[in-house]
């Protein structure tokens, strides 16, 4: 491992810059912290009008192939959008549907691509990958759910947990073992009997995830290399979550700094005390490091190569630990008001505590980096 030899490329051209700005503008206007609380209080957990606006702006198809109605931008575009979304604590099926769309685009099955991608790109159809199971492993290939053949096709049995926005999407892409091999199968959400999808109660009240019990559920196999596809989507999930957390860190820092500038005690703004100022600077520095790791990961992401894996794991590990720390200090630096439900600091802490454990936590990625680096 010679760090000096490795690429330090960060590509972020004008098109991505415009996309990031546009995401940032929409979020600033429409996704205020009051709006975030309002969405969190609804059953679905998101603002449909805002999702429609996002679809209108082309966000849902930004990184899908042009021949299926997408804009054909590289995966870095997803980071360009996800980071400002995280900054404003946006929630909704953007992440889920993007991951499902990217998974479909990655595993080469032209028929399902033609069937689903144009609708996904326009936001007419929403989808979500169902990858993880009750034992809590982050390994996308640690699958117990089975898809067995019968005369009519495949029947799916097993339990998936943490399925993002499952109750609000039309299509579920489920990982399962088919003849002992990893496979990805498509399930129409409406084909599931009542009671098979139950909402999980999350520490982050703005997010929605569900537990799904499949019991001889009819499913259709998606062709192509499922093993690679599952690795790919898991890594992309980690990248998008790193972006979300990098954005969340910035939001948390802004909120905390604002308080440090305005709250006075002993006749001085509390931000003048070095016991608060210096840790705040360290958090800011860590956040800046995280952004650099993130944009590089976005640049080299392909879901396959060593460079991509390394960069994504570093970004998720670093952005994750930085956000959880920033949000933790934000509570303390607000004093008792920070401990209240009313104070927005809790929104960031809860987001951080949730996102840290999605698509691999800091410990998991650092552990996997050992094999790559040492």
């Amino acid at each position: 491992m010679t760090a000096t030899e490795e690429s330090t490329e960060i590509r972020f051209g004008e098109d991505l810059d415009l996309l990031a700005k546009s995401a940032s503008d929409v979020m600033r206007d429409r996704c205020t912290l009051e709006a975030v609380r309002a969405s969190a209080a609804t059953d679905t957990g998101y603002d449909e009008a805002l999702l429609a606006q996002i679809a209108e702006l082309g966000f849902l198809g930004a990184a899908l192939p042009e021949r299926y109605g997408g804009a054909g931008l590289p995966a870095a575009a997803l980071v360009a959008m996800a980071e400002p979304m995280g900054r404003y604590l946006y929630s909704g099926p953007f992440v889920a549907s993007t991951l499902a769309g990217q998974l479909l685009a990655y595993i080469d099955d032209p028929i399902s691509q033609q069937t689903y991608l144009p609708q996904l790109a326009r936001g007419e159809l929403l989808a979500s990958p169902a990858l993880y199971e009750p034992d809590g492993s982050y390994d996308p290939l640690a699958i117990v759910t089975t898809a067995s053949r019968d005369a009519a096709g495949l029947l799916l049995s097993g339990i998936k947990t943490g399925v993002l926005d499952a109750a609000n999407v039309g299509l579920l892409l489920v990982s399962a073992l088919c003849d002992g091999e990893p496979a990805v199968v498509a399930v129409q959400r409406t084909s599931l009997p009542d009671g098979s999808i139950t909402r999980e109660t999350l520490i982050d009240e703005t997010r929605r995830s569900y537990r799904i019990v499949f019991d001889d559920t009819p499913a259709v196999r998606i062709g192509g290399d499922a093993t690679q596809g599952l690795r790919f989507v898991h890594q992309l999930g980690a990248l998008m979550m790193a972006a979300d957390m990098s954005g969340g860190t910035i939001g948390s820092i802004d909120l905390t700094i604002d308080y440090l500038q305005t709250r006075t005690q002993f006749g001085r703004p509390i931000g003048s005390y070095q016991a608060l100022k210096h840790p705040m600077v360290d958090i800011f520095v860590a956040s800046e490091h995280g952004r650099s790791l993130l944009y590089h990961a976005a640049t080299v992401f392909d879901g396959e190569s060593r460079a991509s894996e390394c960069a994504v794991r570093m970004a998720k590990a670093h952005c994750g630990s930085t956000f959880t720390h920033a949000a933790d200090r934000s509570i303390q630096f607000h004093g008792a008001i920070g401990f209240t439900y009313e104070c927005h600091a809790q929104l960031f802490l809860r987001r951080a505590q949730w996102a840290e454990y999605q698509f691999g936590d800091t410990r998991h990625h650092r552990r996997n980096l050992q094999a790559l680096l040492l």
Partner: protein, 408 residues
């Protein structure tokens, strides 16, 4: 994803060719390691043979055209884009060649002269900074005023076409070898505020009335001095900028020193410490009877350092992308000094810990691992967490200037 390069930026092919050329040159010309030990950085040059060796190496690099590449040709530079110098610097780090000795001249005295000097001053000083013929030192700190630099009390009193200096500067790195000093002195003690009445001099220090006393460092090495001025006379035309405006010149200087402004002549300033070297050390050392590299805690910490090292390198890449630094354009450059120096300190302390029961040995012990170098690296790491403004002062600056927090 198109990125339009500025017009005069050379093509990637030109860069690749140039990188190869530098690599080959370094292979052929890197000096053979001397029998004596080389210092960790320009701040620990304490022996005449170390100085002679390093000065000769700087001259060789300069004559090959690899120093001051972006400085104008009329001042001894090569007038090429800064990117060329960055390539040279990274290749030097990669090749593990010795650092440049005249760092104060190359990295901050030179750039500040370039920015604020008269034409005469630029022609007089800059070429010999590059060649290493004239060594520069810095007279900012005083025994009673370190972090509170603006409170400096060394006086400079005008007398005809000279100034008369009195007072004491301290921690003067390269003070023994230097011909010139960038000096902050008080020309008007009654200016009303400590920030006023200071003047910035390009002072010769080989004149009568300047007494240099070497100070031993905690490592046992030398490299900095106490510098006393006792009615020392310097020419009046060595004022840089305006009389009484020395504080703003000093702040400009510190921006170069801390890497917050660009314009440095280039070259390495210290022995680079890399995570890959520490990984190698972890393979060599044994802890509790097994190679240190197999210890789970060691492995996790190595990964942590690798992430941090990567983040530093990527920060430098991002710093050149406007779109990704627009929110706080100076953030990365302003935090460089803090992050690099603290990283170096923690990394070298960790490296020492890998030596386990042998970690207590030091340079000179025949059984010290890697000659006790990591122990020396660790102690010398404080030179950068204290020198040039302490880490605490850096955090104050970042907190106040970048984050807008109130002054304490």
């Amino acid at each position: 994803m198109t990125e339009v390069p500025p017009a005069e930026t050379p093509s990637p092919e030109e860069f690749a060719t140039f990188r190869q050329e530098v690599r080959t040159w370094l292979q052929r010309n890197a000096p053979t390691p001397p029998a004596f030990q080389l210092p960790d950085s320009f701040m620990e040059v304490g022996k005449p043979e170390q100085f002679a060796f390093l000065q000769a190496w700087q001259r060789k690099v300069y004559e090959a055209g690899y120093l001051g590449m972006a400085w104008p040709t009329e001042y001894g530079g090569r007038g090429r884009p800064q990117a060329y110098q960055r390539i040279v610097d990274s290749e030097m780090a990669r090749a593990n060649v010795p650092f440049m000795v005249n760092v104060i001249g190359l990295m901050w005295a030179g750039p500040v002269i370039m920015q604020l000097g008269t034409e005469t001053q630029k022609r007089r000083y800059l070429p010999k900074i590059l060649s290493g013929e004239e060594i520069w030192c810095q007279g900012f700190s005083e025994p009673e005023h370190g972090s509170d630099l603006a409170a400096a009390t060394t006086t400079a009193v005008r007398d005809g076409d000279e100034y008369v200096l009195n007072g004491t500067k301290i921690w003067t790195s390269l003070g023994t070898e230097a011909k010139h000093m960038i000096l902050l002195a008080r020309t008007d003690p009654n200016a009303g505020s400590k920030y006023k009445g200071l003047t910035f001099f390009l002072a010769p220090v080989d004149v009568e009335g300047v007494e240099k006393r070497p100070i031993q460092k905690m490592t046992g090495e030398y490299g900095f001095n106490e510098t006393r001025f006792d009615n020392a006379r310097i020419p009046a035309d060595c004022v840089l900028g305006q009389v009484g405006e020395g504080w703003s010149v000093a702040v400009t200087t510190l921006m170069f020193e801390r890497g917050a402004s660009e314009g440095q002549a280039g070259g390495l300033a210290m022995v680079p410490l890399r995570v890959s070297d520490v990984v190698e050390l972890a393979r060599q050392c044994r802890l509790d009877g097994v190679p240190a590299i197999e210890d789970p805690q060691v492995r996790d910490r190595l990964v942590g350092f690798a992430i941090e090292e990567r983040a530093h390198a990527l920060n430098m890449a991002r710093a050149r992308n406007q779109a990704l630094t627009r929110d706080r354009p100076f953030a990365i450059m302003m935090m460089n000094k803090l992050t690099f120096s603290e990283f170096r300190r923690r990394l070298s302390a960790f490296a020492v810990s890998l030596e386990g029961a042998n970690a207590g040995r030091y340079m000179g012990d025949p059984h010290a691992i890697e000659g006790g170098e990591w122990q020396r690296h660790y102690m010398n790491a404080f030179s950068a967490t204290i020198g040039g403004g302490t880490s605490e002062i850096q955090r104050n600056i970042i907190g106040e200037r970048l984050l807008g927090l109130a002054k304490g």
